[in-house]
Symmetry: C2
Subunit: 416 residues, 2 copies
């Protein structure tokens, strides 16, 4: 791992100086190489799929592991989209004169070497590699052992394309060993790695955050809330509450808990829960929720304390009727993972209070929690959604993989 | 420490909602309280000074420990200056519509609770407290044991002023115990502390970075370089090289190593080193430097490997004659602490290469390294100079003590 780290560090110095033209050419070369390698990619993937079946992986995991022809085409398309994004490196902001006569500004620069630790999906290998490449960083990728053959096959395409484009092949390296100790080493070599981005389950991320001696951009779970206020518009509330939960279940920006103002609950609970039932969503509610649904024909279980603390990532929703705005905000402060919360209200003062008082990476007024996403926010792509407060918060795109240094121009200026 | 942390966390929630008016009133109240407390402050400080003498502290340390009447007036003035700064909290940037119809922007918010660990100077207690206060954070301050009476006396002024202004007195707490274990606890309670800012010697900062389980904004040493290029202007080179070293010795943005292009060395070495001699600066040089000064009457010792690695913080300078630009940049890459480097050149291409290739928190063209400073850069004040790449890099002012969350407005928008 140290040798691999040293190669990454050397490559990072070349990448930091690479022009936008170099980088975009490499990105397009990766796209072509992936498209020309459908057969070898599928063959490598077949080995992983077979091993997964032999080891009894469940259908959902096997599904995420599979590299289809469409999936490969999507990876190639992703490369071309990132090539089309503006290059953040070298951007100078806020350049202005100071009373002393010096001119001070900030220039955007790469972070250096980024270590990415992720679980089974092989497309992350490309997504992560190309964002780091465009932002002038070198990357060390450590995927899950279930996907090792697929990841190595993808990595081969990337390295070959880099070399053909005149950029260092070591700018993107995939850790070949599936040895668990490799992760321990990767997160404790600050001389060679500047930041770690873990993508995966809560357990993985907590373990890495605890053990790492380099900074970690954490992507913890999304226990996201929608609060339907007493001044909500009925149609908006229905649409947002349904979309936030049911648009997709296994994503971190899906709603897990619905909070409803008591004065509004009587009007909306039955028709809304009928929609959830129609979509097969299992409901777990507080006493008042259960009372309101009594006799409606919609079944709802008693929510227990752990329900408010759980990211279901599944067609399960917990519902609480709250006394009012303050209790909703308190509930969010107690149980949210600080990822994304949305309020539905027509009252401008209430919306301003929600924006001010809720301390999450995305705070939304009258829109679905599902919008909390790098593409939807206009970042062009994302490496994940940070629940950290330092450095990058919320969807992390190219900018989150960079830093800014101060630049100063003088004409012989000295301090008096 | 846990109880103290819990109080800080509670206070941070009130501070996050405090208006600019509240905060500025508190800052001005602190100023008045300090001015009205010259006697008790001096008495508390006298105890520390006596204890310091009894424990054999050297003159420089005793000097930094002393709270003079002028020093107290400067602290009060600092409070009023921070009150005059714009409030960063609640600032919304980049609010714009996306193709989906939602409107997305970023709002600046406090980090929460900031733990500051520092050594002997009691004025840091006020400087750190007021920057955290203005940026809507709560602070836990842990000063050096040598200054405990002074720090507690300053803390009393701050708490009383906060309470009188209607803000929570717990928004600024000084750790009363001088027990070393308190630091260990402070840096490992992520539930109550969001970030640690250590200010002090390299040993302290490295120990804290190693042991902390919360993010650390590091302020490591400043091994700063000035490179005099072959295309340097003579007067600028002389002024910048002298000012960068001799304006103040004990500061992190002072030059520690001078690099001179071989083609320029013959012209400038003797007159420049005569100036250093006149100011009592001890010189240590490479073979070529020594040869150039031979017979000039200026004495220079042989520099050894550790000289290039040392932040002297003293009237000592190491000098190396380099083959050219590339060797200067290589030397900086090998030995710099990534704090501040300056080039003296009239050549625009060379200056552009220096800005691009040198990876330090401040990169300067034709000005003294002494400008790398929060006040000089227009931040209004600084809590230190970060040598980290993540989050805050270079001088850290109010903005470095904040984060940004995404805010989203819709009119019932859902993901399709």
């Amino acid at each position: 791992m140290l040798a691999l780290g040293a190669r990454a560090r050397a490559a990072s110095k070349v990448m930091a100086m690479a022009t936008r033209g170099d980088k975009d050419r490499a990105l397009r070369a990766i796209a072509s190489k992936l498209e020309a390698s459908i057969e070898p990619l599928r063959q490598a993937n077949a080995k992983d799929l077979q091993a997964g079946k032999d080891n009894g992986l469940d259908a959902a995991l096997l599904d995420r592991l599979e590299l289809t022809e469409t999936g490969i085409a999507a990876m190639a398309e992703g490369c071309r989209q990132v090539a089309a994004l503006q290059d953040p490196i070298g951007e100078v902001n806020d350049l202005s004169y100071r009373p002393s006569g010096i001119q001070v500004g900030k220039m955007r620069v790469p972070l250096g070497v980024i270590g990415i630790i992720y679980e089974s999906r092989p497309n992350v290998t490309v997504d992560a590699a190309i964002l780091c490449l465009k932002s002038g960083n070198a990357t060390i990728l450590r995927g899950g052992s279930e996907a090792i053959h697929s990841n190595m096959a993808v990595a081969k395409c990337v390295s070959e394309a880099l070399a053909e484009s005149g950029l260092p092949a070591d700018a993107v390296q995939v850790v070949e060993t599936t040895d668990r100790e490799a992760v321990g080493q990767l997160i404790t070599m600050p001389d060679f790695v500047d930041v770690i981005v873990p993508r995966g389950g809560k357990g993985l991320i907590e373990r890495i955050s605890r053990d790492a001696s380099v900074p970690v951009i954490k992507h913890l779970d999304g226990i996201c809330h929608v609060y339907i206020d007493k001044d909500a518009d009925y149609d908006k509330a229905m649409a947002i509450a349904v979309n936030s939960k049911t648009h997709r279940y296994g994503v971190c920006n899906a709603m897990e808990t619905l909070l409803v103002h008591q004065a509004y609950a009587e009007k909306i609970m039955v028709p809304l829960c009928e929609q959830y039932r129609a979509k097969g969503v299992e409901l777990r509610g507080c006493d008042r929720s259960i009372a309101l649904l009594d006799g409606s024909g919609v079944s709802i279980a008693q929510a227990v304390e752990t329900d408010w603390q759980t990211e279901y990532l599944a067609p399960i929703l917990s519902i609480r009727v709250v006394d009012g705005f303050d209790q909703a905000v308190e509930h969010i402060a107690s149980y949210s993972s600080d990822h994304t919360e949305s309020i539905v209200t027509e009252n401008v003062t209430t919306s301003r209070k929600f924006i001010q008082q809720v301390d999450s990476s995305s705070v939304i007024v009258n829109a679905s929690t599902r919008f909390a996403d790098g593409f939807e926010y206009g970042l062009g792509a994302e490496i994940g959604i940070s629940t950290d407060k330092l450095h990058a918060r919320g969807p992390v795109g190219l900018e989150g993989l960079t830093s800014q240094k101060y630049i100063v121009y003088g004409d012989g200026h000295i301090r008096q």
